[in-house]
Assembly symmetry: C2
Homo-oligomer: 224 residues x 2
DNA sequence: GCAAGTCTGTTGGATTTACAACGGGGAGTG
DNA sequence: CACTCCCCGTTGTAAATCCAACAGACTTGC
């Protein structure tokens, strides 16, 4: 319980806090540090966990196994990131995913109940943690919601226009850069790269938009 | 500020609280009640709102408009339900959706900052609200995550097995009922109803599962 | 019993996508 | 310049999806 200072200071949950403050908070929250060997399971699907994890070192995989045993990679966790937070904050809901150590890893476990039952007056930064946790959940929510919006579109073409439209709104301009390569964008939208490229070409030919590599310009076609 | 007692008592955020307790909390939180005419906008996309809404009466639509003006229905809000909570809890993020009154409606607005900065000792139920808000976000997160898992599958067949597998795990049995009609399930998975029906028939013919209307039985094919 | 309506499974043709493979254009290297 | 590597666009074929239409099973109301 000594050397995780840098990771925690850079993590979203504790960012901007002094090391002593963090140390005091961890005691107040009853945080537990545990080490895991490579390949070992941290959480099994079906368990009920009221603790959320913060990875201190190593790397984790969040995976999902269906009824027939097919594995599905959900996320890769890097140091400083949270995992299993949605399940920990939903009392009684059993885990729908498993978490495995990709390398030898150290994890800080935080009990959600102890986070939420504030030591009334003592901790000023305790309520900051609650606020951060809320923000983390809300932002994840927004990201999921946005992705769902695009993926709900039936055709590749509509998924593209939905995504590009959102990017334009985010940048406040019809001219903008996207943060994905073609392959990454295809994976994000759940379509095939070459088919997506073809759909992009068709949109360009029809005058709906222009693009060069990662720079896009949307054309207003409302008055036409 | 008198007659919303029943709606609030049955809402997730305030459930199980006494009317007097709720009344006191609303004052403590600086809750504002406002009325809206049919068709009027409660929130516009692009605004930055730090308040979340709780519908007291009427009905609302959460919609999304893309760059070319195409409307997309995101959700329909019934009395007692929250809306715009993810945006309110993500400071600085502008709204990606608009909210319109489908009927004449009354809304209770709650400032997230005042929810999070607990009046230190006074309110015991104040921290209960924080806890509920966290749970609401976490559960929505789980629902989104589950839907994304299914929708990320490329083919209709894989979307179906992903969904049915999750239902079986939830019920703890390979024999279970689903809460959707065929059309609703198709909409949920983002596919076409008849194509989905055909895929279901094929899965049955191949011995992967059995079904009658809304009752399904999955077959273990691992040892075959 | 009969009629109307709803839900579901099935089928055929038009459309779209997935998949594999290829070629061109940059960036970087020697 | 030659060479390699990586990213992107294009193309052709096989496969899957969408769409419309229809038929059977079931429910509901008269």
């Amino acid at each position: 319980m000594k050397e995780h200072g840098i990771v925690l200071q850079e993590s979203f949950l504790f960012s901007g806090m002094e090391p002593e403050e963090i140390e005091r908070l961890l005691k107040c929250l009853g945080a537990q540090e545990r080490a895991y060997r490579k390949e070992s399971y941290l959480l099994h699907a079906g368990d009920a966990s009221a603790e959320l994890g913060l990875l201190l070192s190593g790397a984790l995989l969040v995976i999902q196994e269906d009824f027939w045993g097919n594995r599905n990679l959900m996320a890769r966790i890097a140091p400083g990131q949270l995992f299993a937070e949605s399940f920990a904050c939903s009392p009684g809901v059993p885990l729908g995913v498993s978490v495995v150590a990709l390398e030898e890893s150290r994890v800080l476990w935080l009990d959600v109940k102890r986070i939420l039952t504030t030591c009334p007056t003592a901790c000023a930064s305790h309520s900051a943690i609650i606020c951060r946790l809320l923000m983390a959940l809300a932002e994840k929510n927004l990201r999921f919601n946005e992705k769902l919006t695009h993926m709900s579109q039936r055709t590749t073409r509509d998924k593209l226009t939905s995504f590009l439209s959102a990017q334009a709104q985010r940048n406040g301009s019809s001219s903008f850069d996207i943060p994905f390569s073609r392959q990454e964008l295809a994976d994000y939208l759940g379509v095939e790269r070459s088919a997506m490229s073809a759909a992009l070409g068709r949109l360009r030919d029809e005058g709906v938009l222009m693009f060069q590599r990662n720079h896009f310009v949307l054309h207003d076609t409302s008055g036409m």
